[in-house]
């Protein structure tokens, strides 16, 4: 998270932090373990009033920012989501809201996302597991579009009223907004590691939607998809850093309080040096997350590389950090009773979504070659 916030940004962050302290304490997260959607509709509506879904939406559509950069503001909320391992579809709802606002389409749905009465999610990944590859077919048939394919994992598809589906039309990408109750859409819940984040497989079997369902242009959505991906990465990374920070602070405190052989853990140099490394990973994660958010927000040429670098670093080193936090706790760190797993779960889910560390490392090299070739 940024080291220095404006007073407006601090107010935004603080309001959500207090709300989550009250409505999403750790006991509540444990209660939601068996909840079908992982969050209550009313909780999400009240969160929307705090700006949870409006920061990537233009002012003309009822959104706005507090600093001039809504994406950077959103990282402050995502950071608090990570610190609390909070429930709610923060990434997909914001990505879809931002996409609808950018395309200035489906404004009724956008209004519902803004006031929290509707939830929408983004269908990007597919079961073949190859990051960045889109096989789902979108075929033009007269005044209609026909979708065939499978998406997974799709976050909060069960709670969503609408799906933003990224598919392929010939050589290009097409994006379509599909109500979840459309004939031919089948949503099957998956089992996952996070206590409150729900994921599903969504099948599209000859799903027919009117041409007006298209967001952008048929076969020409590649740039839009790239921007959405960058938004998703920035939000996920900020959340992951929040989870890392919470786990780390909890573990530093433990190292002072826990005595072995008559000394606190924090007095052993072997452990101090591991904490020192963890601190560098945490601060490095903050630093690269903030630089990537700034680059993506400004649409800079290095935004894609920075967003992938942040995802690769925070995924890899964040796991090492949180798993080391478990290690420092010993046996209690792998019990359900202890809180450290709440943050381990959140980081683990975020690491695996929207490209793994190795997939982003390879993407960086592809992007660098493209840039060298272009210059």
């Amino acid at each position: 998270m940024l080291l220095q916030l404006t007073s407006d940004q601090e107010f935004l962050r603080e309001t959500t932090a207090r709300f989550l302290d009250e409505l999403a304490p750790v006991e509540r997260l444990r209660e939601l373990r068996g909840h079908e959607q992982g969050f209550e509709a009313d909780y999400w509506r009240r969160g929307a009033e705090l700006g949870w879904t409006s920061l990537l939406v233009g002012e003309d559509h009822g959104g706005g920012s507090v600093s001039g950069s809504g994406l950077v503001d959103l990282t402050l909320l995502a950071h608090e989501f990570g610190r609390h391992a909070a429930p709610g579809p923060l990434v997909p709802t914001n990505v879809v809201a931002g996409a609808l606002s950018a395309g200035s389409a489906h404004l009724d749905l956008l209004a519902g996302l803004l006031d929290g009465s509707a939830v929408a999610t983004w269908c990007l990944a597919e079961p073949h597991g190859r990051f960045g590859r889109v096989d789902l077919a979108v075929r033009v048939d007269g005044d209609e579009l026909v979708l065939d394919g499978v998406k997974r994992p799709v976050e909060s598809a069960g709670a969503a009223t609408h799906l933003l589906v990224t598919g392929r039309t010939g050589d290009g990408l097409t994006q379509v907004v599909v109500p979840t109750d459309t004939t031919g859409v089948t949503i099957t819940p998956l089992v996952g590691v996070d206590l409150t984040r729900r994921f599903s497989t969504v099948r599209f079997d000859g799903v027919r939607v009117p041409a007006a369902a298209v967001l952008g242009q048929v076969g020409k959505a590649d740039e839009d998809v790239e921007r959405q991906l960058q938004h998703a990465l920035v939000i996920l990374d900020a959340e992951s850093v929040g989870a890392m920070e919470a786990a780390f602070e909890m573990t530093v405190e433990w190292s002072f309080d826990r005595y072995s052989f008559g000394r606190p853990l924090a007095s052993y140099q072997a452990l101090k040096h591991r904490f020192a490394d963890m601190k560098t990973w945490l601060e490095g994660a903050h630093a690269i997350a903030d630089e990537s958010a700034e680059a993506v927000a400004a649409g800079r040429p290095d935004a894609a590389v920075l967003a992938s670098a942040a995802k690769a670093f925070i995924g890899e080193y964040g796991s090492e950090l949180v798993q080391d936090c478990v290690q420092m706790h010993g046996g209690i760190g792998v019990t359900f009773e202890h809180d450290v797993h709440l943050f381990l779960r959140r980081h683990t889910v975020d690491r695996a979504l929207y490209g793994t560390p190795s997939e982003h490392r390879l993407r960086i090299v592809d992007l660098t070659e493209q840039q060298e070739g272009a210059s």
Partner: protein, 429 residues
């Protein structure tokens, strides 16, 4: 980052009426640089050995370039005007770095001359000392070294045994200093010496300035395992230093030393150091991709993954250093936080050296200097890998600082704090 929305300037900003407009400064810097400095393209910092003649020619050119910057009002951007600087802000310094991108710059005058040496003189020098040395440094007339490490002490810098004994208005120095880069072509040194053996180690130190050609100083060059001979060791035999060349109070040298080490850790992020933006270092995407290309492994997914890893580490190192610099400057982080960037950067650098060596395959063992391009010299870089975790303080020391001073964990038990220094056990040397 966006401007604050409340319409007020941050309270660290100087009065805008007194400070040169950034755009005007940029235009002025660009005109002077383009008219006077050579364009060299992207610069790869190389470990490749240079002959003495090449090195001396490089030193001479660095002095000229520094003078060119000085004459154009571009030297000492953050140094007060009364000492020959420009009295401008770190933002101006950043603009200068951007405008210098792709141009030659006085590489050998940055560290340790500008930071820590010039920074320490500004912090602790008398008015007369500042007026004598700071403008001379900014003109390129004085290149400084730090006489800090000694053969008998590595990380334990306050344990120096080079001794200064008072003799009237002078001090007489005896001892030895080591790891001075390029002392054989430098002019002055900042020296930490022991002036009192009968008090605990941190309380008996004093800092002096001395010219390297002073009688009684012998400079020997040290050959590193890769053949490089830039590091030196100095032997002091009855070197006489006037008391007017003492910096700070007698026996309070550690007060100076603490700031000295802070300025040293700031390195490329010090407001006094000028390195062009985009100066390529090992680990940058471009250079590592070049290694893979010249090693013929651009289509190998394993090599590509390693290039990606190295790129990530380079980007995070840079971002972390910027975060720490900003955090320390604003007070959001303690001065000690520089150790966070140091610890990470050291380990990331060694990993990148391993990666490039791995990508190079057998070229790492033997290479063709003329034909192998970026894949040449990888073996030597790998042999020197640990320098990133040793130079400027080891990563183990940085880890102690992070744990104890940043995270506040209990300090290691020390037996040398409350006893006279002469009673502290030392290495046999």
């Amino acid at each position: 980052m966006s401007a604050p929305t409340d319409g007020t300037a941050p309270d660290t900003a100087p009065d805008p009426g007194e400070v040169e407009d950034l755009d005007a400064f940029r235009a002025r810097a660009r005109a002077h640089i383009q008219a006077n400095l050579r364009h060299v393209g992207s610069q790869v910092v190389s470990l490749r050995d240079r002959s003495d003649e090449e090195e001396l020619a490089g030193v001479a050119r660095d002095r000229e370039v520094q003078r060119i910057l000085f004459d154009g009002g571009l030297a000492g951007i953050c140094v007060p005007k009364e000492y020959g600087g420009q009295g401008l802000t770190p933002q101006h310094q950043q603009v200068l770095k951007e405008e210098l991108a792709g141009h030659e710059y006085p590489m050998r005058l940055q560290s340790p001359t500008m930071a820590p040496c010039l920074a320490v003189i500004l912090d602790f020098g008398t008015e007369e000392q500042k007026r004598r040395h700071v403008p001379a440094i900014l003109r390129g007339d004085e290149i400084w070294m730090q006489f800090l490490s000694e053969p008998g002490n590595g990380s334990d810098l306050a344990g120096v045994t080079t001794t200064a004994v008072r003799d009237g208005d002078e001090w007489v120095l005896n001892g030895s200093k080591v790891w001075t880069t390029g002392a054989w072509w430098s002019d002055w040194g900042l020296c930490l010496a022991r002036t009192n053996w009968d008090v605990p180690k941190h309380r008996g130190l004093t800092v002096f300035m001395l010219p390297i050609d002073r009688e009684g100083i012998e400079v020997q060059r040290i050959e590193m395992l890769n053949g490089n001979k830039e590091f030196c060791q100095e032997f002091f035999t009855d070197v006489r230093v006037p008391d007017s060349d003492r910096i700070g109070e007698v026996d309070e040298g550690w007060t100076v030393g603490t700031r000295w080490l802070f300025h040293e850790r700031m390195l490329y992020h010090s407001p006094y150091v000028t390195v062009p933006e985009g100066t390529v270092r090992m680990g940058d995407a471009g250079s590592m991709l070049g290694v893979a290309r010249d090693a013929g492994r651009l289509d190998d997914p394993i090599a590509r993954d390693l290039v990606g890893e190295s790129t990530v580490l380079g980007l995070v190192s840079g971002a972390l250093a910027r975060r720490v610099t900003a955090g320390v400057a604003s007070g959001a982080m303690s001065d000690q936080s520089a150790a966070v960037a140091k610890l990470f950067g050291g380990k990331a650098n060694t990993r990148s050296a391993t990666i490039s060596f791995e990508i190079g395959g057998a070229m790492g063992a033997a290479w063709d200097e003329d034909a192998d391009g970026d894949a040449a010299e990888l073996g030597n870089a790998f042999l020197m890998r640990q320098v990133a975790c040793i130079g400027g303080g080891t990563t183990e020391m940085a880890a102690n600082v992070v744990a104890e001073r940043v995270l506040g964990m209990p300090r290691e038990r020390s037996i040398d704090r409350e006893v006279p220094f002469r009673e502290v056990p030392r290495s046999a040397t």
